[in-house]
């Protein structure tokens, strides 16, 4: 008989149709179905959701926060990607 600890799961909830699933927290469960059932009891006791995703935490690959400055630098330096970079002459509308 196995007495191993239940694995950790990350829980994502869609609060209503039209919105994407959002990370709400984690919990432990023996398998995916139990994780879904527990997530309902823990994270949706007050109508917070209409759909639940769970994924085992160990399957998540994350970017390294220590390297985030270099990693996200390309998006910091390209200010011309934003509409506010451009001058629109007075009198021009619908733009």
């Amino acid at each position: 008989m196995s007495s191993k600890e239940w694995p950790l799961w990350e829980v994502f909830i869609r609060s209503k149709q039209g919105l994407s699933h959002k990370h709400v927290g984690s919990l432990r469960a023996a398998d995916a179905q139990m994780a879904i059932d527990n997530a309902r009891d823990v994270y949706t006791r007050r109508s917070e959701g209409i759909s639940i995703w769970v994924i085992e935490s160990k399957l998540v690959t994350a970017s390294d926060p220590d390297e985030s400055a270099e990693f996200f630098e390309p998006s910091e330096s390209k200010i011309y990607r934003h509409p506010t970079f451009y001058n629109v002459p007075d009198g021009i509308s619908h733009m």
Binding site: S2, S3, K4, D31, M34, R45, P65, D66
Partner: protein, 316 residues
């Protein structure tokens, strides 16, 4: 791997805290910050779980179906709060099983208030009103704690606590406006829980050695004495409204301070309860230990069932 030295890292860390940038699980943090949070969050989680026991005591004896349903929902919320908090602590590397074993061996602490017995139905009201009320006072500032997962857990907890406090005050106020016996029951309950509720905020600021560092790290946002004063100032009027008397002969409005002066807290009692010598410490820990031991077969069965289901999926 970062080539920065520890002083640089610590300076950058404090700069982030000062700029109100939240710290997230994989970010660099000083060991002291991690340890302080792990201790505080796991103690908080233990308190939620042990806190289910005094109220669980009255579920089968609630005076009506409505009160039973409400109490069940409240106790279920406490279980959920414990779970949010254990999860938040796990993001710091806490070993959940070990932490629960530390609670059971008496090594880990939990809120002293749950070591007092719940003798009458009125205690269900008083606990909601005062104990959850004091918890809210403590927890609202924690929603702005510098550690992201703890702050997010506290937002959820605080949303739910407000129902807890209101249902408690409703019970107290109905009893206080009932028969003389009912009113007496409410007053007796207030007499027993008032001082322990004030102790929930922890030692006086002069005797709280880690507070300054916690405030600098924005783990704590207000001092113990500030929160206690705030609690007293809002609660006195609520007691007056329902015609109950706060059991403190030194309680007096201080015009100059704009706050109530109050009597001296019995810190000897507080220390005794913290050290394991309160009226119900042993009973509470025994109950938790039994729950874990007697529930072992359920956890094992769930593992076996998960294995079986996995095998079945693989053969399809």
């Amino acid at each position: 791997m970062s080539t920065k030295n520890i002083e640089e890292l610590e300076r950058e860390f404090q700069a982030k805290i000062d700029a109100d940038i939240k710290i997230e699980p994989n970010d660099w943090m000083p060991e002291g910050y991690r340890k302080t949070l792990m201790r505080q969050i796991s103690q908080h989680a233990h308190s939620e779980i042990v806190g289910m026991l005094p109220e669980g005591n009255w579920i089968t004896r609630a005076p009506s179906l409505k009160r039973k349903a409400v109490l069940l929902a409240k106790v279920q919320d406490e279980a959920g709060h414990g779970l949010y908090l254990y999860s938040a602590a796990e993001t710091l590397g806490l070993d959940r099983e070990k932490s629960i074993d530390d609670l059971h061996s008496g090594k880990a602490k939990y809120s002293s208030i749950f070591n007092y017995p719940t003798l009458t139905w009125a205690d269900m009201g008083t606990i909601g009103w005062l104990v959850d009320g004091a918890a809210i006072m403590n927890q609202v500032p924690l929603c702005r704690c510098s550690y992201g997962p703890y702050a997010r857990a506290m937002v959820r907890v605080c949303k739910e606590e407000s129902f807890h406090q209101r249902q408690g005050f409703e019970i107290v106020s109905l009893l206080a406006n009932g028969t003389p016996e009912q009113k007496q029951m409410a007053q007796d309950s207030l007499n027993r829980f008032w001082w322990p509720a004030l102790m929930m905020f922890g030692p006086n600021d002069d005797n709280s050695p880690n507070s300054a560092q916690s405030i600098k790290w924005k783990i704590k946002r207000s001092s113990n004495d500030e929160l206690r004063q705030q609690f007293i100032d809002v609660t006195v009027a609520q007691a007056e409204m329902v015609g109950l008397t706060i059991p403190d002969k030194d309680l007096k409005w201080n015009e100059a301070r704009g706050s109530y002066d109050f009597g001296t807290i019995n810190w000897e009692e507080f220390n005794q309860v913290i050290q394991g010598n309160g009226p119900c410490n042993k009973e509470r820990i025994d109950a938790r230990r039994n729950a874990k031991e007697n529930g072992a077969w359920v956890r094992e069965a769930a593992n076996a069932f998960a294995e079986k289901r996995k095998k079945k999926e693989l053969t399809h």
